[in-house]
C-alpha cells in the first residue's frame, strides 16, 4: 500500500536543489557588476604589469610630474614613477592585504563564534565579553598604535588587520550556531556519542557557510579601506613599496597644484573595489536567504 499512497506526498522541493542561490545571484545585476569589477581589478593588478611593465623601484628625475600623455597614460608622480604602473603595483598590495586580512578575520571570527555558541554557559559568556571589550575599542585606533610601534611589512599588516577585525563575524557566527546546535541532527549525533568537534566541524560550520561567505566579503571590503586609512596616514607599507592609500597620501600635496592624475585614479580604485565587494556581499546574502522569498 505504501507505494500506492506515496503519490500523495510528492517531493515537491526536489527542484534543482542547491543550484538556486547561484541563479538568484546571477539575477542580481548590481552583484554581478560588483563581481565583474573585482575580477577586472584583479586582472589589472596581477596580469596588467606583464603587458605594461614599468620601473617602480628607481626614481627617474627626468620624468617627474608629467601630465597624462602617449607614453604615460596616467602621467607620472613626483619621483618619476609611471602612474598607471603604480596603480597596478599599489593595487596588488591593497587587494592582497584586503583579501588575506578579510579571510583571516573571518576564519578567526568563525572559530571563536562557533566555539562560544556551541559551548554555551560560562565559556560563551567569557568569550563574548572579550568580543564586547574588543568592539568597544575602535579597530582603527588599535591599528594605528600597533603600526606606529612596529612599522609592519605586507605580512605584518595582514596579521594586524586580521586580529583587529574578527569581532563582528564572530558575533554573527555565534548567533547562527545558537540556532544550529539545537537542530535535531546535532541532538541525534550527540545522543549516539558523537564528539563536540564533529558536531562543529561536520554540521555547524557547513550549515553556517552562507553567513560565513557573506561576512567574508564585507570583511574584505572593510580591510581594503583600513589598509588605505593606515597607509594614507603614512603608517602602512613603506616606500618604495606602496598601495592605493599610500598613493593618495603621496599625491595629496599635488592636489592643490592641479595634478589630479595623482589623486583621482587611486581614489576611484578604492571606491570601486570597496563598493564592488559590498555589492557582492549583498547579492550573496539575498541569494542564500530562503525566507525572504516565500
Amino acid at each position: 500500500m505504501s507505494a500506492a499512497l506515496r503519490t500523495t506526498t510528492p517531493p515537491t522541493e526536489a527542484v534543482a536543489g542547491h543550484r538556486l542561490p547561484l541563479r538568484r545571484f546571477a539575477r542580481n545585476r548590481l552583484a554581478v557588476a560588483g563581481l565583474a569589477v573585482v575580477v577586472l581589478f584583479l586582472l589589472f593588478c596581477f596580469v596588467g604589469p606583464l603587458l605594461h611593465s614599468t620601473d617602480q623601484t628607481h626614481t627617474d628625475l627626468t620624468q617627474v610630474n608629467l601630465a597624462p600623455n602617449g607614453s604615460h597614460w596616467l602621467g607620472t608622480d613626483a619621483v618619476g614613477h609611471d602612474e598607471l604602473g603604480r596603480l597596478m603595483y599599489g593595487g596588488k598590495v591593497s587587494l592582497l592585504v584586503g583579501l588575506a586580512a578579510g579571510i583571516l578575520a573571518t576564519v578567526i571570527g568563525t572559530l571563536w563564534g562557533a566555539i562560544a555558541g556551541y559551548a554555551g554557559g560560562w565559556i560563551d559568556a567569557v568569550m563574548m565579553r572579550v568580543v564586547d571589550a574588543g568592539i568597544a575599542i575602535p579597530a582603527l585606533f588599535i591599528l594605528l598604535v600597533v603600526s606606529a610601534i612596529t612599522t609592519p611589512d605586507t605580512l605584518g599588516l595582514i596579521v594586524i588587520l586580521g586580529l583587529v577585525s574578527w569581532l563582528v563575524p564572530s558575533r554573527l557566527i555565534r548567533a547562527e550556531t545558537l540556532t544550529l546546535k539545537n537542530r535535531d541532527y546535532v541532538l541525534t549525533l550527540r545522543a549516539i556519542g558523537g564528539t563536540h568537534g564533529r558536531a562543529i566541524a561536520r554540521h555547524i560550520l557547513p550549515n553556517s557557510v552562507s553567513t560565513i561567505v557573506v561576512a567574508a566579503t564585507f570583511q574584505v571590503a572593510d580591510a581594503i579601506l583600513l589598509v588605505a586609512y593606515v597607509s594614507y596616514l603614512g603608517l602602512g607599507v613603506q616606500p618604495p613599496s606602496t598601495d592605493w592609500g599610500g598613493m593618495l597620501s603621496a599625491g595629496l600635496t599635488a592636489a592643490y597644484s592641479g595634478r589630479w592624475w595623482l589623486i583621482v585614479p587611486p581614489g576611484l580604485a578604492i571606491i570601486l573595489v570597496v563598493c564592488a565587494f559590498n555589492a557582492i556581499g549583498d547579492g550573496l546574502r539575498d541569494a542564500f536567504d530562503i525566507k525572504g522569498r516565500g
Binding site: 506526498t9 545522543a191 549516539i192 556519542g193 558523537g194 564533529r198
Partner: protein, 556 residues
Amino acid sequence: MNILEIENLDVTFTTETGDVPAVREASLYVRPGETLALVGESGSGKSTVALAALGLLSGNARATGRVEIGGVDVVGANEADLSRLRGRTASMVFQEPATALDPLTRIGAQIAEVIRNHRPLSAKEAASEAVTLLRRVGIPDPEQRASAFPFQLSGGQRQRVVIAMAIANSPGLLIADEPTTALDVTVQAEILDLLRALAADSGTGVLLVTHNMGVVADFADRVAVMLQGEIVETGPVEEVLLRPSHEYTRRLLSAVPRLTVAEPGDVPAAAPEVPTDAAVVELRDISVHFGRGRRTVRALQDVSLTVAPGETVGLVGESGSGKSTAARVALGLVPPTSGSVALFGTDLGRARGRARRALLAGVGVVLQDPVASLDARMSVGECVAEPLRVHRRGMPAAERRARVAEVLERVRLPRELAGRGPRELSGGQRQRVSLARALVLEPRLLVADEPTSALDVSVQQTVLEVITELQDELGFACLFVSHDLAVVQQFAQRVVVMHAGQIEEQGPTETTLLHPGTDYTRRLIAAVPVPDPVLQRRRRAERRAALAVGGTGATA
C-alpha cells in the same frame, strides 16, 4: 441560500521554478448552520481552498472560478470590498493561536477592534461586548481576563480568544483551518464542543479544514475529500466515513490508526506481567529541574521506568507532560537533577569518555521533525553513515558504503538514494532515512520521539510498519514517545502515561488504555475523537456526562 458557494475554483501558484497548480475544478457549498469538513493530506490544497474563499491567497497565486459568500463575489472583488466582508459576513480561525494574536495588545482590545472595524459602536460599548464574547467562549472571569495579554493565557484559552474575535460580528460563515491541530486532545475536545455550540446557536455555517478524521467524525455534517488539488468525494459524514465510495478515501481511512475503546461490560484482562529480564534502559527516581530559585520549572519529578530487551514501551502524555524530557534523560542529553539512568546495566551518569561513547553506540535515535533531523548539507548516504564514522572509525569506505546501502534497503528505500540530498525526499522518506541512521549500528535500544507526528497518516503507517518489521528481525527494544494514543495502542506492548512531569500510571497497553486506573487517563482517552461518527457521538455524550458528574468542566 448557501452561505458559501465555490464553483470550478482553480488556483495556480507562480514560483521561481514554474507554475504549480494547487487546486483544480473544486466545487463545494456550505449551508447556514451546517459544518462541511474539507479533509485531505498535506499538499492536497485544502488550506488553499479555505484561503481562496476569503480572498486571502498570497500575491503569487492566481484564482479563477466562482466563489460567493452570502451572494457576494470574492474572486473579482477589490481589497476594500473584501475588508468589509472579512470579519463581518465571514471570518477565519487559524491553526496556531500563538501567532494569530498580537502579543502586545490586551485581548479585550483586540476583540473590540474587530467589533469597531465593522460596527459603529463607542469604545466603551465595544469593550463591554468584548467581555460578553469572552464569557460566551468560556473564558473564566472575563472582566479581568479582558485586560490580559495573550502570553498570559494557555494555548486553549488563546484559541478561545481567536474564536471570540471570529464570532464578534456574528458572521454567517466561519472558516476554521486546522483549529485544534496545535492543541492537546483534552483541549481539542473542549474547543470542538465550543465551536459546535456556537454554530448551533447562531446558525453559522462552518467550513472546517482538517486532516484529522476523528475531528471530522466529531464535528462535521458533510465531508469533502481532497486529493492533489481535486475534490474526489463529497457526502454526509456517516456516508463518507463509514461507507466511502472513492478508492482514495478508503485507503486514507484504513491508514488512520484507530483507538480501540472498551465496550460497556468489558472486564480488564489478566494481571499485568512485569518484565523480569535485565532492563535495556532504566530510569530510577529521575527529577529534572530547569532554572533556579522561584523560576524553577520541575520538568520531571520522581520518574521511574524501565524498558526490557525487545520490548516496546509507549510514553504518552500531553504537551508539557515531560515525555520528551524523559526520553532525553534516557539518552543522556539532559542531565537529571537527581536520580540515575542505567543504560544496558551501566550507570550513564558515571560513564565518561570512551566508556560513555561505547554505551551510546548501542542506542539509535529518531526525532520528530523530518526536516531538521537530516543535515541538508550532507547526502543521504553521509547522513546514514555518520554513526559508523563516529563508532567504527577504522571501517574501509567500501565496506561503509555497502553497509549504508544495506540498511537503506532494510527501511524500504532504494539504495540509489544514498547519493541524493535530503531536500529531494518526502517527509516519510526522510523519517525512514533517520530510521536507517538509527539502525546502522544495530542498536539494542531505539528511542523514537514522536517519529510520525509530522507525517500524513498513510506515510505514518508505512514508517510504523517498517519499525515493527525491523524490530521483529533485529530484536531491539523501543522507547516510543507519542501524544497519539491510537498509535501507541497499535504499536507498544507497555504504556507509560505521563502528566505534569509525573507518571500517572503504567502497565500493559491492553489493560491500561482500555481500563485506565486513574481519572486523568480516563479523561485523556475520552477526549480522543474516533473516526466513526456514530461511535463518536456516543463517546461525546459519555464524556460530557462524566465531566458533569466529576465537576471538572474547567476550561483549558
